[in-house]
């Protein structure tokens, strides 16, 4: 219990003084997480919609695999990306290991299946409702794809936020491929892990509180914007 009070006090102090290390870590976390989710959405939204709209050999298998990939253990992903990016590995020439880019790559791999699977379900349901009318108007699956993504924008926002949540919580994979290097690849979650391993439990918990508050703020803004857009006449 004492740790929790100490944690709250630490969190308040860090925020109030705009602790320089904290600001640096927070900015890096935001950069890595938002970039990952942006890339994952760029891939996952059209991919999920395509899985929903087009029929092709192996479609059902693909859907099952994408769903299963949502449960990819992060540490496994981290390990695989590490082996790929290491100098001893196939992509070593790019020297990407232990960089924010490597962390983004790992997170994109983890987040894309989530966005893809949720998009697929959303678009499939919408296509069920709209298919006849859209085809009647002259829009086949390809033409309907962007339309349905826009139609489902509220549900898809939730999917993207789910992806963002996943990215924000990630610690195992980014630790392996980023190296938790001070001032370079140290983000909120890896810092919390490090401070815990140093026995600085109050500090670790304080950072954790800040992380949760940030997450709430992001999600709250998303919902407020979403609701106000919903209500205004287009």
């Amino acid at each position: 219990m004492h740790e929790i009070w100490a944690a709250l006090a630490t969190a308040a102090r860090l925020i109030a003084t705009l602790d320089r290390d904290l600001v640096e870590i927070v900015l890096l976390s935001l950069k890595v997480n938002f970039s990952s989710v942006a890339l994952a959405s760029l891939i996952g939204l059209p991919l999920g919609a395509s899985l929903a709209l087009f029929s092709f050999v192996g479609r059902r298998t693909a859907i099952v695999i994408v769903s299963a990939l949502m449960g990819l253990p992060p540490v496994v992903v981290g390990l695989v990306v590490y082996l790929l990016l290491s100098r001893a590995g196939p992509f070593g020439v790019f020297g990407l290991l232990y960089s924010p880019t490597a962390m983004i790559i790992a997170q994109v791999i983890l987040v894309t299946p989530i966005i893809t699977a949720l998009t697929r379900q959303t678009v499939e349901d919408l296509w069920g409702d709209y298919r006849e009318q859209l085809r009647s108007l002259g829009a086949g699956p390809s033409r309907a794809l962007p339309t349905l993504l826009w139609e489902g924008r509220f549900t898809l926002t939730t999917a993207v936020l789910a992806g963002l949540g996943r990215a924000t919580a990630e610690v195992g994979a980014v630790m392996i491929v980023g190296g938790n290097i001070d001032h370079l690849t140290r983000v909120m979650t890896t810092t919390i892990s490090l401070e815990t391993s140093k026995g600085n439990l109050a500090l670790a918990l304080g950072l954790g509180i800040i992380l949760v508050v940030m997450s709430i703020a992001v999600n709250a803004s998303a919902f407020v914007i979403r609701d106000s857009v919903r209500e205004s006449a287009t």
Binding site: L27, S86, R87, I181, S197, S221, I225
Partner: protein, 276 residues
């Protein structure tokens, strides 16, 4: 009103992300080291001094010794700083690293619960102390992760003639770094072997305290090596060499000696001593 505030927040976020991009084109080297060294805070103290002096940023990747060595072998680091002599010598012999330079030493200590069920408090014979712990079947938290600390621990058990593989439930292998292992030891009131630097810097000691220390077999020697550019042409050999020379030179050595926690010196520089 809320909507405008949220939009402002989102814009601020977007701005911060673009601004948060790291500096970039500083000269830098990658140092693979151990979690024990990093967790002690030595690098936070030492490296800014080096950077101020030479303009070279040092990126520290801290892992267990085994993994740090692997990183150097793979060419993912330019410098290696670990504390297991035999592994270091093998690396040089196999051509992965240039010469091995001793840098500093400290010692391992045996910590345990103040209740001390194995009665080892005050002992200076580490091997005998471990013998008593085994005899009392008192809980012992081992790192179990092939790190330098773990290997040192295993060497002591071997000297004591105790087969830890066949040990009972009292011997707990955590498979984790030093800090995590200490957290577990504190949580279950177990004994553990830890390097003094990590112990002094550790903030969750709980009920644990140093019970046995001072055995010459507990000496923990650190050495620094540059990765061989003949093996990995892409390594930043010149900058790595600068670091090795600085660390073993007068300024680096003095800085090491100056690093203290609560008045206690954590590492003793010994680069001048003949070492191989």
């Amino acid at each position: 009103m809320i909507r405008r505030a949220s939009l402002a927040f989102v814009l601020l976020l977007a701005l911060s992300i673009t601004l948060g991009a790291n500096a970039g084109s500083h000269e830098h080297i990658v140092l693979a080291s151990t979690t024990s060294t990093d967790n002690s805070g030595l690098f936070d103290y030492l490296l800014p001094i080096f950077e101020a002096r030479t303009g070279i940023k040092v990126h520290v990747v801290a892992r267990g010794t085994g993994q740090a060595i692997r990183i150097a072998k793979d060419g993912d680091a330019d410098i290696l700083l670990v504390h297991h002599r035999r592994s270091e010598q093998e690396l040089v012999a196999a051509g992965y690293a240039l010469a091995r330079h001793e840098v500093m030493y400290n010692d391992f200590v045996i910590v345990g619960p103040r209740g001390d069920p194995a009665r080892i408090n005050g002992m200076h014979d580490a091997v005998a102390a471990l013998g008593r712990i085994a005899a009392a079947r008192a809980a012992f938290a081992s790192r179990g992760d092939a790190s330098g600390t773990h290997k040192a621990e295993l060497a002591l058990w071997r000297t004591a003639g105790i087969e830890v593989d066949a040990a009972g439930a009292w011997y707990r292998e955590t498979g984790s770094g030093m800090g995590a292992t200490l957290n577990i030891a504190a949580g279950m009131s177990a004994y553990a072997l830890v390097d003094r630097a990590t112990w002094l810097a550790f903030r969750n000691k709980g009920d644990l305290a140093i019970l046995a220390a001072g055995d010459p077999r507990l000496r923990n020697q650190y050495a620094v090596m540059a990765v061989n550019p003949a093996r990995h042409p892409h390594v930043r050999a010149a900058a790595a060499q600068t670091f090795v020379e600085w660390l073993t030179g007068p300024t680096g050595q003095a800085a090491i000696a100056e690093f203290t926690i609560d008045g206690g010196q954590l590492f003793h520089p010994n680069a001048q001593e003949a070492g191989r």
